[in-house]
Amino acid sequence: MAGAITARAPISIGSKRAVATESVLARRVLITITVVFLTIFVLVPLINVFNQAFSKGFEGYWSVFFPPQPPDDATLTFSQKRRLAEGAAQAARTWSSIGLTVAVAAVVLPLNIIFGLAAAWATTKFNFRGRALLTALIDLPFSVSPVVAGLVFVLLLGRNGILGPWATQLVWPDPFSLHWVGFENGVWPLAFGRTHTGVIFTPLAIVLATIFVTFPFVARSLTPLMENQGTDEELAALSLGASGWRTFFKITLPNVKWALLYGVILCLARAFGEFGAVSVVSGHIDVNDTMPLRIEKLWNEYNNQAAFTVASVLAFVAVITLVAKSVVEWKAARDAERTN
């Protein structure tokens, strides 16, 4: 039994039984309601996203990312020049938002994996005082509005926040600005292109906010499985003389790999799509835009087609996520079957 993942099995078995005992009419009504609901709230908006994204044709779609370049010798009117410059600036901002979104996910994901494993391990394999409280706390981000979460970071790390005096003075190098400078300045050939001051309204705050809204996913997808598996295998490995690390990497990790991957997928999807918390801590600076923030800005600039084009990329990511999720669920269910 693989917890969160195969917990679905009993549910679907239950529903099958329910269907068998309900009348045909009730069954039809329920199916119709579900289909209508999904059509109105999922399918139609999704189709609309792509419809709007391609409302100016494939070229229009393409030009959101790769604005047209006029030939060098072209003579242009002022307003043509203005539009070209605007298009180039917009595309640059869009690319920057894609870059930041990926970068934030790349930073958040490993941290979440470590945290999720630690949290799931602590709450399932140890018995200690306050365990229930810890379990509840892990779920907190699910019940807190992301906007409130963002505001809490502002209150905490902002100029007048509790940690403000420290946080606003913090200078940290942008890891993505690391570049080659050669050996002229000494033995170390790399340097950071930029540093940031402060935490709130910088990419670091975006990372923090994203961690906050995504950290339950890995822990939550691991917990039921780890609970179910108990500690016997780990104890067996330890009793055979394996070190803690070896036990973790050779026994624990392989046992939970599908659940872990499942959590990772959910976490990535959320990291890519989070708006509220990130919006509050981004300070609306263009370079702090993630894709969802970028979409909102394009929309506010009446640039609907471009907004939907970026949205379609997110929608595409969501579809991939869905497929990956199904594959992982299927694999996990198969593994679980093998175990029993």
Partner: protein, 338 residues
């Protein structure tokens, strides 16, 4: 290796699970911890293994004269076999058995060839040579149990600790494995502690039996000794079925079913104390036949006869017979009365 458990206590919160346990096991002995469910057998075994810690300041676990109370599970040189087998699901039988060898520190880790040889010989020992590449899910319960044992033996432990190793198996397989384990122990002679709640299993397999009840060791002696001279009423009652006879003095006498003799009404040589009863039921259980009598005062009396004795008596259901206890236990200290 000798194992000494000195004055170990353990409680979970306020409830004591082990109370001042003392146990001394000789080198090469096969000892079973026998007791009803919840009596603390697993807890004691896990404390010996180092999985669980005894209450602070309560005592010590000593291996060969060395206090190992603070030694890590992995460094005590034990082989532990879990009731759930705890095989590594994602590893083949071969890799399961090789796990402990591969986990050794680099300087005394065997070569790949040595590992292979060792695993092969263990596979032969457990008679699963052709199953090396299977996964645990492709094995039967008994096979899994043997793999778990081989895995524990691979690291050549000084002590083998088995927690209800055959608990989840069906009767036939249990019996088979039981004698297999006995033979295995005769060949490798590693000190072994074996937890079970099955009296027959404990008595049959072990050199000595520690009968546990309610967090205490009630008796620690050879199977014959515990069976024939139970230290107290608890041990007596736990080790098998019994009848309670209330004599005219009012004190109860406890009698094993096979310690009751049945006499035909026609027999002249029956003892004076014999009472009359009616044969209420006859159960054929192979070598032993179980007879249920109903005494004149409407009490049920269980009697076990050998097939031969039953055959000689030619008992019929509904027949009136005499019966008498050949041997009764009635001298237990009162505090153990249940």
């Amino acid at each position: 290796m000798t194992i000494e458990v000195k004055n170990i206590s353990k409680s979970y919160g306020a409830s004591p699970v082990l109370r001042n346990i003392d146990l001394k096991i000789n080198s090469g002995e096969l000892v079973s911890l026998l007791g009803p469910s919840g009596s603390g057998k697993t807890t004691l075994l896990r404390i010996i293994a180092g999985i669980e810690e005894a209450d602070r300041g309560s005592g010590a676990v000593v291996f060969d004269g060395e206090d190992v109370s603070d030694v890590d599970l992995g460094r005590r040189g034990i082989g532990f076999v879990f009731q759930s087998y705890a095989l590594f699901k994602h590893l083949s039988v071969f890799e399961n058995i090789a796990f402990g060898l591969r986990a050794k520190p680099r300087r005394n880790r065997p070569t790949e060839a040595q590992i292979k040889e060792k695993v092969q010989s263990l596979l032969e020992l457990i008679q699963l040579s052709s199953f090396a590449q299977r996964y645990p899910s492709q094995l039967s319960g008994g096979q899994r149990q043997r793999v778990a044992l081989a895995r524990a033996l691979a690291v050549e432990p000084r002590v083998l600790l088995l927690d209800e190793p055959f608990g989840a198996l069906d009767a036939t397989v249990r019996r088979e494995l039981r004698s297999w384990l006995r033979h295995l122990h005769d060949t490798i002679h590693v000190t072994t502690i074996f937890v079970t709640h099955d009296q027959e299993e404990a008595l049959e397999v072990s050199d000595r039996v520690a009968v546990m009840g309610n967090g205490r060791i009630e008796q620690f002696a050879s199977p014959q000794e515990v069976y024939e001279n139970p230290a107290n009423e608890f041990v007596f009652k736990f080790l098998g079925n019994y009848n309670v006879f209330h004599g005219r003095s009012g004190a109860g006498a406890l009698v094993r079913p096979h310690d009751i003799a049945i006499f035909r009404t026609s027999d002249g040589d029956r003892p004076d104390a014999a009472q009359t009863a009616v044969v209420a039921h006859i159960g054929f259980g192979g070598p032993v036949v179980k007879i249920e009598l109903e005494s004149d005062d409407k009490n049920r009396v269980d009697v076990e006869l050998t097939a031969q004795a039953y055959h000689d008596l030619k008992l019929q259901r509904g027949e009136k017979v005499w019966f008498a206890a050949r041997r009764a236990h009635s001298d237990f200290p009162p505090e153990y009365a249940i």
